[in-house]
């Protein structure tokens, strides 16, 4: 088992290396000279100043040296400096990360809380009205563009209903003391009730928007896995032993149906990460996704490069963790 896990971890290393090289070279394909972009065509800049800038960002060196500098920097956790902000990219990412993590956790929580009971009930009551309606809604969920769902939710709950805020993470001035950077958690830890309610209200719509597709997919997959498991012989055995139906469903069926579902959740992490950019744009959520999109329009290449790598690494590592979890859940599987 440990060897299998180690093997799996070893496979990840060349992929991460490949991702790094890939991102580095693709970024160099961008049309236009980065220094020109930085200066925005300002005419009062002298040739020496331009050269100094080139030196500062190592743009005067040949490509292979730039790559080596980049890789050695990466080893030290240094992703270079932003063209626009003149700050380390890692610092900017670290600042934005808690917002993105909070949103991702909110979406995951919403998705699973909706999907797991729905999947179970639909399987147990197959072809009932509840089953048909839920599956129709889930089908709608997988066909819905995330940005549009977000806007419709804003329209209904904020513009027309005045129930929830339109955008942002928290009302200005209410920000809780910084501990983890997750506002909900921080306000809980500091006992700041006003901040807790406020940040939760801000979190609801973005989490639903991002979690909806996850909920739809997981509910569909869990339902079909449950249906398959419920037909198995050991379920008939459990029933004939006189076990209560809830015990049969929860203890015997759900546990086994969840195993293949875990893989699907793993695959969906990519959807969650990509959707994150869209949702953060719709709700003006100050996370990583916003950072990438604004940096693209500002031609701030080091930030784009660093953030895309963080996204790819997160995705690879998340998939690795899901695979490992899967082996522990189901020892029959060889990775």
């Amino acid at each position: 088992m440990t060897i299998k896990v180690l093997e799996r971890i070893l496979v990840v290393i060349p992929i991460m290396f490949g991702v790094t090289i890939c991102v580095f070279f693709l970024m160099r394909l961008t049309p236009g000279d980065p220094v020109d972009v930085m200066l925005g065509g300002a005419s009062y800049v002298t040739e020496e100043e331009e050269q100094a800038l080139r030196k500062e960002f190592h743009l005067d060196k040949p490509l292979h040296q730039q790559l080596l500098l980049f890789l050695s920097g990466l080893g030290k956790g240094d992703l270079g400096a932003s063209f626009v902000m003149r700050r380390p990219v890692t610092e900017m990412i670290a600042e934005r990360l808690p917002a993105t993590i909070e949103l991702a956790l909110g979406a995951l929580l919403f998705g699973l809380i909706v999907a797991i009971p729905t999947g179970i009930i639909c399987a147990v009551k197959q072809n009932s009205i509840i089953d048909r309606t839920s599956m129709a809604v889930a089908f709608l969920g997988i066909s819905m563009p995330g940005f549009w769902l977000g806007l419709v939710l804003i329209l209904i709950f904020s513009v027309w209903g005045h129930l929830l805020p339109v955008s942002g993470r928290i009302t200005y001035g209410l920000r809780p003391e910084h501990i983890t950077g997750l506002y909900v958690l921080d306000s809980l830890l500091t006992g700041n009730f006003a901040a807790l309610v406020n940040s939760l209200k801000h979190l609801i719509l973005p989490s639903i928007t991002l979690g909806a597709i996850l909920a739809a997919i997981v509910a569909r997959v869990l339902r079909s896995n449950m249906l398959e498991v419920l037909r198995a012989d050991y379920i008939s055995l459990a029933r004939s032993k006189g076990l209560r139906e809830t015990a049969v469903v929860i203890k015997h069926a759900l546990r086994n149906a969840l195993i293949p579902t875990v893989t699907i959740v793993g695959i969906q992490i990519g959807v969650l990460l990509g959707g994150n950019m869209i949702v953060e744009t719709v709700f003006a959520w100050p996370g990583l996704g916003r950072l990438v999109v604004t940096s693209i329009f500002a031609s701030d290449y080091p930030v784009v490069q660093g953030t895309v790598m963080v996204y790819a690494f997160t995705f690879v590592i998340a998939n690795l963790l899901v695979d490992i979890l899967y082996t522990f859940l189901n020892p029959k599987i060889t990775m």
């Binding site: 961008t30 066909s143 563009p145 513009v159 569909r220 339902r223 959807v271 693209i296 996204y311």
Partner: protein, 322 residues
């Protein structure tokens, strides 16, 4: 000797005639299944209507989608939400009360006309991105699965590398590097889009090439090219068709997401994603500008998915959910 060759050719021709007949029979039974599958049939009908609307856009669009008839029509509400003010404007312009059915956008352009034209962008991107991905993925996957060796190794590792990026992030990154534009958009979507087809066909090829009919084809002296593309591929093409249909809806959403972020199709070309984005600023007093393009996209993607899942039920029951 000549006679033998001739005889063989006649046999071959007859064989292909029989194959064609079987194929036609299968196709008509497939059409019957499709008609019987209500959801898939409904999806197919709506998709067909959308395609027709997109093709005939210049004929059926009631107004010019690129230019407003009058700036006074800015943010004109849809017909059921019009007040006195809107009617006065329409009367002054000499228009009927119900013209501009779905209202107008922030520049006074007819929303319905722009939505009809927007279907062109969505469908074109969907068809091209999926078409190229399928072609590249199937060809490479078939060769990699049949020959294995270095070819398989190189492309499989490349596929693994591409799989390390979440799709939308990869596409955003490529668009950021290459800049917006139609051909760049297709390139960004297909650069990763072929991977799924590659893996599907490669896997099917691995199991299919050990079967007896492949040995039979080898014995009759058919070339490898014929064996791969005319003997094996027709037997696995139905799974490819199912995947391609299901990916179509996804590609349309991807294009719209990129256009929404301002990285896809650029204004003034009407595209649903950028229309939703443009309307965001007017959400408070003109909800329709953002809502309707998205609603039409939802209907199209939903229909494509209905058709796709229906095709899966009919063509590939193995993959059926439940």
């Amino acid at each position: 000797m000549d006679e033998q060759v001739q005889e063989g050719m006649v046999m071959n021709v007859n064989l292909y005639k029989v194959k064609l007949k079987i194929w036609l029979m299968n196709f008509s039974s497939f059409l019957r299944d499709l008609m019987a599958h209500r959801a898939a049939f409904l999806g197919a009908v709506i998709v067909l209507i959308c395609i027709l609307a997109a093709v005939l856009a210049p004929r059926i669009a009631p107004h010019n989608p690129f230019q407003a008839d009058s700036l006074r029509l800015r943010l004109l509400p849809p017909f059921w939400a019009r007040g006195e003010n809107a009617f006065q404007i329409l009367a002054k312009l000499g228009k009927e009360k119900f013209s501009y059915l779905l209202g107008c956008d922030e520049l006074g352009r007819d929303l319905l006309s722009r939505i009809i034209y927007g279907a062109r962008a969505s469908l074109l991107v969907g068809v091209l991105a999926v078409g190229i991905s399928t072609f590249v993925g199937v060809s490479l996957g078939a060769i990699a699965g049949y020959y294995r060796g270095w070819f398989d190794n190189v492309f499989s590792r490349f596929a693994d590398l591409l799989l390390a990026f979440p799709y939308l992030i990869f596409a955003i990154f490529i668009m950021a590097v290459m800049g917006p534009g139609f051909s760049n958009l297709i390139f960004a979507l297909t650069l990763k889009g072929w991977v799924e087809f590659f893996r599907l066909v490669r896997g099917e090829m691995l199991s299919e090439k050990t079967k007896e009919y492949v040995d039979a084809a080898k014995v009759t002296g058919q070339s490898k090219f014929i064996i791969i593309f005319f003997e094996i591929l027709p037997n696995i093409i139905h799974t490819v068709i199912v995947l391609a249909t299901l990916r179509m809806g996804y590609m349309i959403i991807m294009e719209a997401s990129l256009s929404f972020l301002g990285l896809g199709i650029q204004p003034p070309t009407p595209a649903w994603g950028s229309m939703v984005n443009a309307g965001r600023a007017y959400m408070l007093n003109a909800w329709w500008v953002s809502t309707f393009p998205g609603l039409f996209m939802l209907v199209l993607v939903l229909s494509i998915n209905l058709l796709g899942e229906g095709l899966r039920d009919i063509l590939d029951p193995r993959l059926k959910i439940d």
